[in-house]
Symmetry: C2
Subunit: 223 residues, 2 copies
DNA sequence: CAGTTCCCTGAACACCCGTTCAATCCATCC
DNA sequence: GGATGGATTGAACGGGTGTTCAGGGAACTG
């Protein structure tokens, strides 16, 4: 993804859907790089390879664009993990994979997992912007639902203990959030491996399954 | 604290230390209210009851001021909780009190505990500003040390199981972080009470102590 | 009581950036 | 192939805001 498509040197009009998405993509990339506060319309235009005027042709205002871009980027992350996880057989494998994908920089094939940086931007914005606050709640509930769905599967198969799956999911989700922040901040005492281990341990504890040595091996891409 | 001091109508020069601190206080309040991105020098000046020019007389630039204000505010929170906790007898009580103080809005006497909002601002800024990144790491390590100190006390007294106190503290700190974010966001499914309960349960689990019914009663101010 | 130093003000400056808009380009259709 | 309409540009406008600065004024010093 994220190909600049050099061949569209100048002219080359696109249909609205394409441009809309292209601009959102460009915006998400710029926000990830420079942060929401330092993101200018001209940056997004440059990243998308168009003129600044065109950005405002597709979006009512900079503010609207930023809001849309944030939820759009989180959507992408959700869809990717969701697709990956559905493939796996056991609930324990699914949970493990979800944690793999949530630890910034744990899997080499996915860069630094900068989606977390976007999450923090969403949080800051949601504190004051009701629109963003609404979106955030939906996004966050989906994130927790992804975990509780796995838990329910594991309960049905007997891998996990019985109980309120949503109640089990909350601390696991929050723990991942809290640790991911530290890892993305490059905290010297909270490495990716340590985060992964801690998440697995607490999950095993809460859900009542045994940790096998293989669960704690770093950097495995899973089967 | 936070008295406007109406009587210093115009003249009334203050000594540098005072003004420095006053401006930091004012800045912290404005940032909490409006957010880092929407904080203008004129806002801070107004809040402090001085002219915009004076702000730049005491601080080299707006950026420096903001950076200082953020760590200053976090310092205040640390000092307050630290002072409160030291009074208590048992480690379990200390831990419980720490959690009380960390749950936004749990204790009526402390407003909404908006220090958490400042934390998020620190995180966003630390992603790009090395100076802030350094401060954040110190602040965060102190936050975790506060927890591991309590754990060590409890281990010495036999209240908690033996083990690496720092390793125990990490998930507890991260869980508090992750849940506090949800609570401060006014997430409809993560109430202050639920956060409190979840933190106590995980702590009890990790540290191997039994939860008594009294530990789960809401809003108690402790002894 | 002059002189010096520091605190403080508020207006002016300069720059940055979101937004607007008239003009241009390019498909597509008649 | 001329006309129509949407897509695109880039320059210009305008508001907002960080920073500077010349000056006023209070306290302290000798």
């Amino acid at each position: 993804m994220f190909k600049p498509e050099d061949d569209m040197s100048s002219g080359a009009p696109k249909h609205m859907k394409d441009r809309h998405q292209e601009i959102l993509d460009a915006a998400a990339r710029v926000i990830t790089e420079r942060g929401l506060a330092e993101t200018r319309i001209s940056d997004i235009a440059e990243q998308a390879g168009v003129s600044p005027g065109l950005i405002l042709y597709y979006f009512d205002s900079k503010d609207r664009l930023l809001a849309e871009a944030l939820t759009y980027a989180n959507d992408q992350f959700y869809l990717r993990t969701s697709r990956e996880i559905r493939r796996l057989g056991s609930a324990k494998e699914q949970l493990r994979r979800l944690i793999d994908l949530s630890v910034p920089g744990y899997l080499p094939e996915y860069g630094r997992l900068d989606e977390w940086a976007l999450w923090i931007e969403v949080w800051v914005r949601a504190l004051r912007d009701p629109e963003t606050a609404k979106d955030r709640e939906v996004l966050d509930q989906r994130w927790r639902a992804q975990i509780s769905d796995i838990i329910r599967i594991g309960q049905a198969s007997g891998e996990f203990v019985a109980g309120d799956a949503d109640a089990f999911a909350l601390p696991i989700a929050a723990l991942i959030d809290g640790l991911a922040i530290q890892v993305i901040m490059n905290d010297s005492t909270v490495t990716a491996e340590r985060m992964h281990r801690s998440c697995m341990e607490v999950a095993a504890h809460v859900l009542g399954f045994a940790l096998e040595p293989a669960d704690l091996v770093g950097q495995s891409a899973g089967a």
